[in-house]
Amino acid sequence: MKYVILKKNKLDEFIVNLSKQKKVMAPVSKGYNNYAFEEVTRGGQIALKYIPTILPPKKYFMPQYETVVEYDTKDGKQNMEAIVEYDEMILFGVHTCDLAGIQSLNVVFSDRPKDLNYIIRKNKIILIGLECNDYCDEHASCKLVNNELPNGGYDLFFTDLGDFFLVHVNTWEGENLISLTKVFEPADDIHMKKREKLRAKKREIFKNEVKINPDQIPDLFDRSHNSKVWYKLGERCLSCGNCTNVCPTCHCFDVEDEINLDLKTGKRIRIWDSCQHESFAKVAGGENFRRKAAGRQRHRYFRKFKYPVDKFSRYFCTGCGRCSRTCMADIRLKETLDDLIKESI
């Protein structure tokens, strides 16, 4: 285990140095307590204290608009090349919930049959995590899913300890950044103790946000398939798809062809889709297998707390709270879980 420190007044130098090597993406303020990952070149542009960004960093791992095939149909042929497009980049300031989100996507796209576009792109992205010293707001439920502390998934991990960051160097790529940027200093016992103190304090702050033993969640969902809770959500849901778009683990997609004006060449693109949209589960013949918003909301929750637990032994809720924060209809994840619990007693 290797630790170094970065004095806060060297952050700018670090970012400037990094951005000379690759694109650096970090959380920036958009006003109204909204944040987004955007390209930065200076430390000062970064919002170090931020609540989860509007879109999670999944936008870099599975872009909203992704070319997967380039084709040419001249002379009636179906000629094609499968391709991947990517930017090499460094993501700075990724919270532990979002690191967990990326790990979930890794699991899905590495599961056979593997999605090579995703896998190739993910290996072009260096991840620098940033610890949350306190809750971002009332929507977070990170302790419920044990994401208030890092569970790997990063190259470097920053902990803000006042006038310096303690940095855990987790990978060789991370190590490389340390030696290339030359702004880090060795960490000693005093630094480590400061982090221990923070972690002790965090144990006091972060308590399971929902009144259930997390191990019992899949069982709760097993019993809740016909719950009234879903029907109530269905009445309130706008079916706008915001909750899934902002979710760090939602990864449903659609595939479309984009034709050039020659009508012969073009590309096949993958775009984000949402199971909350009314036509998502409709087949060409007209049958719609999730016609009602209630069924679609239930599906979304089961895809966070039940199906992935059965299949991958992990929750696909990272506790980031984005779905609750973004919902105009005030559908709140913690409330939904509370309602299910109340009903099941």
């Binding site: 958009k30 079916s239 706008c240 798809g241 778009n245 034709i259 009508l263 918003a293 209809a329």
Partner: protein
């Protein structure tokens, strides 16, 4: 292969959508490379007396004469595209339908009113069959291109039937409601890539209302943000008044 004969027509409108087409720049040249424009009042005086492969209609139908004219165009056209809010949903011309016809006619043409017969504003598809829609006020140029390509390829184009919010969120705009401003994004059909909101404006609903606006949920939201039904309807009717014609039927 012969290039398809394409004609542009305008009815009651500001011709702003034609301007969008003219402003396509280099892409317009590409389009002109694959189609043969045979009528386009704005840029040429020639007329075409045979069948149109594609008729592109701007503007809404507001007079008996316009009804005849659009029916004739429809008969002569293999494919008909309605483009712009006026043509696709009636658009702001629909505000006329808030008033008595005679009253409004006399207001506009005081002494000559009797020479200007008028009817309630209608979208093109409330009079003739429309094959393709390019919604928006004005049209969103990338969508216009998409539709043109679909027409040339002979495949249908489906206007997205989800809310503008879905695209707005992908653009990471701060929600207008968080800024304390009323926006019609939640009820309006997407496909514009939340063009207005990306540029700091609100959504005025120019692309028409989604097929299933989840009314209960919309009501909840109006209550939450303390918006009266009157105010909301007022805002919606700016572009969507003509929708009432379909409801009456």
């Amino acid at each position: 292969m012969n290039k398809p004969k394409v004609a542009f027509f305008d009815f009651a409108c500001c011709e702003g959508c034609q301007l969008q087409v003219a402003n396509l720049g280099e892409q317009l040249l590409d389009i002109l490379g694959v189609i043969d424009v045979v009528e386009f009042r704005e840029v040429m005086s020639e007329k075409w007396n045979k069948e149109y492969d594609v008729a592109i209609i701007e503007g809404s139908i507001t007079t008996p004469h316009a009804v005849d004219r659009i029916k004739k165009i429809r008969k002569r056209s293999k494919v008909l595209i309605a483009y712009g809010s006026c043509a696709t949903i009636g658009g702001i011309n629909g505000m006329k339908n808030n008033f008595e016809l005679d009253e409004i006619r006399e207001h506009v043409y005081p002494d000559n009113a009797k020479h200007f017969p008028t009817i309630p504003t209608m979208a093109v598809d409330q009079v003739v069959k429309v094959d393709y829609y390019v919604n928006g006020c004005p049209i969103y140029p990338p969508e216009f291109l998409k539709v043109i390509k679909a027409v040339l390829k002979g495949i249908p184009y489906a206007v997205p039937d989800k809310a503008v919010c879905a695209e707005c969120k992908l653009n990471e705009n701060v929600c207008m409601y968080e800024k304390g401003v009323i926006c019609l994004g939640p009820v309006t059909k997407a496909g514009c890539n939340s063009w207005c909101i990306n540029n700091g404006n609100i959504c005025y609903g120019c692309r028409g209302v989604v097929t299933n606006p989840q009314e209960q949920a919309q009501n909840d939201i109006m209550v939450k943000y303390k918006i009266s039904l009157d105010l909301m309807l007022n805002k919606m009717n700016m572009y969507n008044k003509c929708r009432e014609i379909d409801k009456d039927e």
